[in-house]
Amino acid sequence: MGRKEAMDKALKDGRSHFEFRPETRKFLLSNSLNIAVGIALVIAVWWILAEAMIYTRGALFPTPPETFSALWSALNGAELNGETIYYHTGSSMLRWGIGYAIALIIGIAVGISFGTLSRIYDTGMVSVYVIQMIPGLAWVPIAMLIFGLGESATIFIILMTAMPPIIINTAGGIRQVPPVYTRVALMSGKDKISLFTSVLIPAASLSIIDGMRIGLANGWRVLIAAEMVLGAMVGLGATIYDSRYSLDFVSAFICIIVICFIGLAIEKMFFAGLENMVRNRLGLDKEV
């Protein structure tokens, strides 16, 4: 039954609740329309800018048709900067994955300790905020001094930029758990471990996911920059950087598109899905 029909029937029958066929298709449609228009706007501005630069400065500014046709051949295996686009993307994601995984393990563990032990919270948080204030690329000299040029240095930079928001949100989430939740567990005679696993972690999980999300985006952004500076031979960032010398700007643009796409996919698909699932599990989506 449609919304209007069901509504009228409920009013007529004097019932307080009614159900109707959800209008998922309508929402889906308007959602896809928003996405399409948003992307089209960006491409339009890009195109205008490209033509203007070509006209006024004679620059080799890649236009959207040029770039997308090159992207198509790259997806079909054409090499750019000496490797396939898949290899570049894979190496970037591997670095990012390793750095992020370490950030997750350390960040959640440290966040939980700070969140539970109020004695070290104040001091600990100051250190974390200091680290968070250091801009991603400012870690380059520090990474070079510790690891020299190369993979470890890149991973270190990802780790240092992804970790602070994870710590802050995990600790904050645990501190914001309503005291009554803890009291119920203590009163039932639960030990520390089940207080954590059954109460504190589920209660703080949305906040922890928020931290993971910000950390992931931080790491992704700094990865590209770090690849540029630290002399990686392959990777999306390295390819963008190399266009300075090779003047292969089309390849650089292809990499930019891939970076945007991966970032969006992780944010909109993976994290939005994860958050929905947890919200559901936590019973936060109230029924009408």
């Binding site: 309503p178 009554v180 939740y181 009291r183 119920v184 567990a185 203590l186 009163m187 039932s188 005679g189 059954s198 109460v199 589920p202 209660a203 599990r281 936590l282 019973g283 936060l284 109230k286 029924e287």
Partner: protein, 266 residues
């Protein structure tokens, strides 16, 4: 004697602001086995603090707290609390919430015990519902089932129905009463509603605020169900109201009441 406070004082002080609050000053109460003791008084008189001390969530600044002949050092399943605010875990269903507090047994044994107490509060049909699907009254009934499932010797209830409508509150009051009679438990029940206390309690203790003290106590031996309009009850209510007016708390001039206890450290 099941539980007692002997000359207990509780002081909260915030070292940052230099402000302190005496929540309880020299309070002594003895809770006998089988009592249904109602604590009444204006907000800020230390009713909830008294309950938190008995529960073991707070520690006294001075004085002695005993339970079953032993000093109270922390929370324990012997002393179950039904909280004022909704306290069910929203990520567990009703059955899991109740089973969470069962003290021992494997999973199916725990669930069996949980079902027994859910049945007692009339919510067996909602065992698999999530807390956000329940009304406020149902949530508090689940909370009662959860506390009963711990099989406590002493049931501490902190304005459990304060946020519910009048009709639901009366209904749940009667349920608590029959559970208390049927289970042979001892109850300490905090409320700010005089009539609720008179309808339920075998003892009614009036506290006064700033600082929290015991003002007066009444023993009520009338059988249940009690008629709030019977001459005895009306006389009793008048007496309580009179005592309430005599104490300093009623005119609102009390100092310290405006300092919230949250955020203050002992």
């Amino acid at each position: 004697m099941l539980a007692s406070l002997k000359n207990v004082s509780k002081v909260f002080a915030n070292p940052r602001t230099g402000k302190g609050l005496v929540a309880l000053n020299d309070v002594s109460i003895q809770v006998e086995k089988g009592d249904f003791l109602c604590l009444i008084g204006p907000s800020g008189c230390g009713k909830s603090t008294t309950l938190n001390l008995l529960a073991g969530f707070e520690h006294p600044s001075e004085g002695e707290l005993m339970f079953n002949g032993k000093p109270i050092t922390g929370p324990s399943p012997e002393r179950g609390v039904v909280f004022q605010e909704f306290s069910l875990y929203p990520w567990m269903n009703v059955l899991q919430n109740v089973a969470f507090s069962v003290r021992a047994g494997n999973r199916s044994e725990m669930e069996g015990i949980a079902r027994k107490y859910l049945g007692m509060v009339g919510l067996l049909d909602f065992a698999h519902a999530m807390p956000n699907e329940l009304s406020g009254g149902m949530k508090q009934r689940v909370a009662i089932a959860r506390t009963l499932a711990m099989d406590p010797d002493l049931l501490l209830m902190d304005e459990p129905f304060g946020s519910l409508d009048e009709q639901t509150r009366r209904k749940l009051d009667n349920e608590v009463l029959s559970l208390w009679e049927g289970q042979g438990k001892t109850v300490v029940f905090v409320t700010h509603c005089i009539e609720e206390a008179l309808m339920l309690g075998t003892r009614v203790v009036l506290m006064s605020a700033s600082p929290g003290r015991i003002n007066k106590e009444w023993k009520i031996e009338m059988p249940w169900p009690r008629d709030p309009l019977s001459p005895e009850m009306i006389a009793l209510k008048k007496d309580v109201v009179k005592s309430l007016q005599v104490c300093s708390c009623a005119n609102g001039s009390a100092q310290g009441v405006f300092i919230t206890i949250n955020g203050l450290e002992e």
